[in-house]
Symmetry: C2
DNA sequence: TTGAAAGCGATACCAA
DNA sequence: TTGGTATCGCTTTCAA
């Protein structure tokens, strides 16, 4: 990366000052808040700025302020996870929306290999960004503890499983509540034997949804052992559903902890000659595009992905403004979207 | 954004120099290529660097080199487009892979409003990045022409519709070829009356796939007027399919220009009492997750999204190294993925 | 091969 | 309210 194509020469503060007939210091003040600058000077400076098309040089500014005006979006996992994760894309949406009101730029920090947090930490520690938004699925890594050491403001998306005895500010959807909602809906529909395809045991999202489901069934005096686990893939969902049907051929409802897994479950159920929802009612999770395109369309628990992203960004911005990090996580409510499958 | 949380104080070049017993200049040379530095000095410097945990300050470096070591990913559209676009997420994957070998950081530049290219251009012109990767669907905006004026290296993903008399380096999938492949497959399956649900007429991807389809049918002496248009949504696909069935109740095959539209088409076809593929064979486009989860699973044309992203990044890196921009677009082959729907 | 010193373009302190 | 000036951390001549 030696030879450098010639870019436009940008006007500097100096030139603006000269054109406006004032000093650099005055222009700088005018640009940053405009305190203690006379109306006269202001006008001249504004005119000079727009005539010259002046844009402050970020590098120069960063050098002295030690502020980069950019924040990182840390995505711990690589591979098609990024693609398939229904929350991530929505969160990204919310994040950019929230950042739009500021002059903060979003820098993408995608792990090169699964579990490669070292490289990301190096970057974060280097002071290249003012803060970090961390999307976390597997909460088990040491990212929270390590991040806390850096003194860099950060907010997690998704509750870290093991914060390592540090307070971690995070935003999460109410997974327990979502599990409750799904179970309650199936109960109210009159289901007699309710199963669940849960997510992985090492992921907070998987664990919490199961907890909610279990809670409601236990309270209703129903069995809570019709449980099998998938890995949040369609194949995993299909396999788990198959095992459940084998063990409990008479089950008539199932809560599947993700829409993607639910598509797999749907296939297995229909292949077994059963109809959805008449023989088996199915509730999914995420309200992703898959829920709408599935046949039959899935009743599912909507995650407020975009709002999660927005709140993450807002909490980070608060910290950048000097507020102390939130000591507790923020839990956003989920919502049942009723379609044809249950 | 006034108050600034105290970050760690990072060691500077100066301190490394002192620790190594050499001058700043020598350390700098050692870091940048290591030309004209004695082995002795090298060793001492390397040791000092790792002991102190030194990381160069990007802002200071940028200030003098006028290089930012970051490139922008420009996403012209906002809203859930980002989410639903099957190519974008894959391309992102390829881009980060290609960038992993360099020290380039990816900065996300999402348009705040549809068609708001002005803000993006301002940012790009400000010299905040060394180059830009532009994801383009609607080729009609003036982004290509405006970008060319900035002298900033850039590469488009997706062929711009109207380059405005400038050569635009781009990477695209072979949409015409994809349309041909789909049509050919349906012909070879023995279909008699082949329709298509095309994409919007103002999007290159939509237009090109239709051209390919038409080409093959014309060459085979088949009618080429069983065409209706959708907007790349499931609803659009369903509506277009409905119109086609009404006009041509006897059609027995259809090429739908995106998997998402195909899910809508599938629903309409099945609701009309017809079976897929027995009564109507369906070929989709994208090989997205929807193709795999659809019932029946979709035969579809796979876009090499990840490879597109990788090539985009590679072409940009070439330019950053001083190579002239490619004068012609680069077209990557598509591939038919045969599943149950056709 | 090495080092001294001059910037790069901003901010911020201090006097005026 | 202003302007002069030191400073941020690095790269890059230019001499030695």
């Amino acid at each position: 990366m030696e030879a450098l194509p010639v870019g436009q020469r940008m006007p500097t503060l100096e030139e603006v000052a000269r054109a406006a007939g004032v000093s650099r210091a005055t222009v700088s003040r005018a640009i940053n808040g405009g305190e203690r600058v006379s109306a006269n000077a202001r006008d001249a400076i504004d005119r000079a700025i727009s005539e010259l098309g002046y844009i402050p040089n970020r590098a120069a500014r960063t050098l002295v302020t030690r502020r980069t005006d950019s924040v990182a979006l840390v995505v711990p996992e690589t591979g098609n996870r990024f693609v398939s994760d229904p929350v991530l894309t929505g969160a990204l949406q919310g994040i950019t929306t929230a950042l739009a009101g500021t002059d903060l730029q979003l820098v993408l920090l995608v792990a090169q290999q699964v579990g490669d947090t070292a490289g990301q930490l190096r970057y974060l520690r280097a002071g290249h960004v003012d803060g970090a938004l961390v999307i976390s699925h597997h909460g088990e890594d040491q990212l929270p503890a390590e991040l806390a050491k850096t003194h860099l403001p950060f907010v997690f998306g998704g509750r870290p499983l093991d914060p390592g005895s540090v307070e971690v500010p995070y935003v999460d959807a109410d997974n327990v509540g979502g599990g409750r909602t799904a179970a309650t809906h199936l109960l109210e529909r009159g289901a007699r034997l309710i199963a669940t395809v849960a997510g992985p045991r090492n992921m907070p999202a998987g664990v919490d949804r199961l907890i909610g489901w279990r809670e409601v069934l236990a309270a209703a005096g129903r069995p809570v052992d019709l449980v099998d686990y998938g890995d949040f893939t369609a194949e995993g969902g299909a396999a788990a559903m198959g095992r459940l049907l084998e063990r409990h051929p008479d089950l008539d409802a199932v809560f599947v902890a993700s829409d993607l897994m639910a598509t797999g479950a749907l296939r297995v159920i229909q292949d077994s000659g059963r109809r959805v929802p008449d023989d088996i009612a199915v509730v999914g999770y995420d309200d992703s595009v898959l829920a709408r395109t599935a046949i039959p369309p899935l009743t599912t628990v909507r995650q407020p992905a975009e709002e999660m992203g927005r709140r993450m960004a807002e909490l980070l911005i608060d910290q950048l403004r000097g507020a102390p990090p939130q000591s507790a996580g923020e839990i956003l409510p989920t919502e049942l979207v009723v379609r044809a499958s249950a």
